[in-house]
Amino acid sequence: MPRPAWPGRHPIPVGTAWRWCLGPLTLYADNRPSEWRLSWRSERDPTLEPGELGPIDPADIPAEGLQAARFTSHLDEVSLELVPGLADRPVVIRPDTAFWLLGGERVDLFASTPVWVGLRAGESGRTLTDLPSFRPSDTWFGPNPREGELAYSSKTRARLDREPRVHPFRAATRITVVNHEADPLRIERVKVPVPNLALYLDEEGTFWTSPISLERIEGGTVGRLQVLDGPPAEAVGATLVAPARQPWREAHGLTRALGALLS
């Protein structure tokens, strides 16, 4: 798979427009005097493949069926930069079927989450907005409706082997689960702290996040979550494309009730 063409700066002189077909997200940018007019349509099918990108006649931007936003500036900027990123909330991964990790064992799970598209104006790189390439469903991660955290739910299924092909607008995450106790550990759902992960692009054009590891310790009721530095070993020749939205505070995430990390 070639490296994607959409990340980076695109020349859009005043009075012209561009269109990007970013899988489930179709994005239009219309550069008007002192104003960027962005419009987009999000499909509910996460498997849609990316299409063409390039300049279009501003008159060809559909007048209906799009969400729109206007951004004004005293500068007439002539380029727009698209920056890949990750979700703004944790993502809950649910395997096809809950499974048990036997005592003393470790397993690598592979899951993927949607890529976010950041829009930055001109040479200054000022942020216009962030859009999900696919808006995942909301979900609640907690022991009951009173305690917990709002998260996204990933329709991708956690695999025990690397996905043969990750969708171009999803980022793969390697999750290592280690059971240090003797009794089996049931894994039904895993919360991936996506806002704390960096995003990488490997030489095959696949997006990867920082890998994470979850360890069950101290009698089985406590979990240790770690965000590992750098790309996973599976991401050959990977380069950093976006740092984490929020820095990983190891002191806070190091040990938690196991139920706050997986269930």
Partner: protein
């Protein structure tokens, strides 16, 4: 002339000046103290800041006023005696206000809601915009200001709609007795799965409540973040209506069968 001289030398002028100084410096000091108190209050009691600030401010004003009067030569014991009688009179006259005040203090400690919460009291639903000494002000969705006395709040059932991060929507659906319940369930669960605002967990729930008078009573419950609750409520019900129309699922309406007995006159011809 003699009177003025006597006034100036008799010590009354000095007392008056002292009283004015107490009043002036007292109010100034009270203002400075209030500013510091407010800074201390803001992070600790953001929701009851106004109430506490007013209580302390009026207390300080009372002390300054009493000191000023004392300096002017008023006998405060007589004044307090009179004030006692006055208090009893005022007490009788302001039972409601006192009750509201005390109720406000109880609410202050119980904290069933905070400023910005959406609550329902009786038949009124609105956003809490202030918690005051004797009442709470609500802004209703149609932008009306509703003043609810604290006493009423203490006695009534209050529903806080924004206390928890997620909320459940219960949709009551009558299904025809000859309808395909399994198909209805599949459609509803698929719609919930497709709607990004419906939470995956807690999972949507399909429940047959029983046989109604004219239809099978079904409840479909879905959860959403309270921030997107209204949007989800509109979108999911619009999608259900459209899906039922597309799939030919009829939502029954009450039907009444009227039979004429023998001897009744025939219905008039159309």
């Amino acid at each position: 002339m003699d009177t003025i001289f006597e006034f100036l030398t008799g010590g009354r002028a000095a007392n008056l000046l002292r009283a004015l100084a107490i009043l002036g410096f007292g109010v100034l000091a009270a203002r400075i103290a209030m500013a510091a108190f407010d800074r201390w209050l803001a992070p600790r009691f953001p929701n009851h800041r106004i109430l506490l600030r007013r209580a302390v401010w009026y207390g300080l004003l009372f002390l300054i006023g009493a000191s000023t009067l004392r300096q002017l030569g008023f006998n405060l014991s007589v004044l307090l005696g009179a004030a006692g009688i006055l208090t009893v009179a005022i007490g009788f006259a302001s039972q409601t206000s006192a009750s509201n005040l005390i109720s406000g203090i109880f609410l202050l400690t119980e904290r069933p809601f905070t400023i910005g919460d959406i609550i329902t009291v009786g038949t009124t639903t609105g956003e809490v915009i202030s918690v005051d000494l004797i009442s709470v002000k609500l802004r209703t969705p149609d932008n009306l200001l509703v003043r609810v006395p604290n006493e009423m709040l203490l006695k009534s059932q209050i529903t806080n709609l924004s206390h928890f991060a997620i909320r459940r929507l219960d949709i009551a659906l009558p299904i025809a007795f000859d309808g395909d319940v399994g198909k209805v369930k599949r459609i509803l669960l698929a719609l919930a799965d497709k709607n990004a605002l419906v939470l995956d967990e807690p999972a949507p729930m399909f429940m047959i409540k029983g046989f109604g008078t004219y239809a099978l009573e079904v409840q479909f419950s879905v959860w959403a973040s309270r921030l997107t609750f209204l949007e989800m409520r509109n979108s999911i019900q619009t999608e259900i209506q459209k899906a039922f129309a597309d799939e030919g699922i009829r939502i029954p309406v009450p039907r009444y069968e009227v039979q004429g007995g023998a001897g009744l006159p025939p219905p008039p011809a159309a």
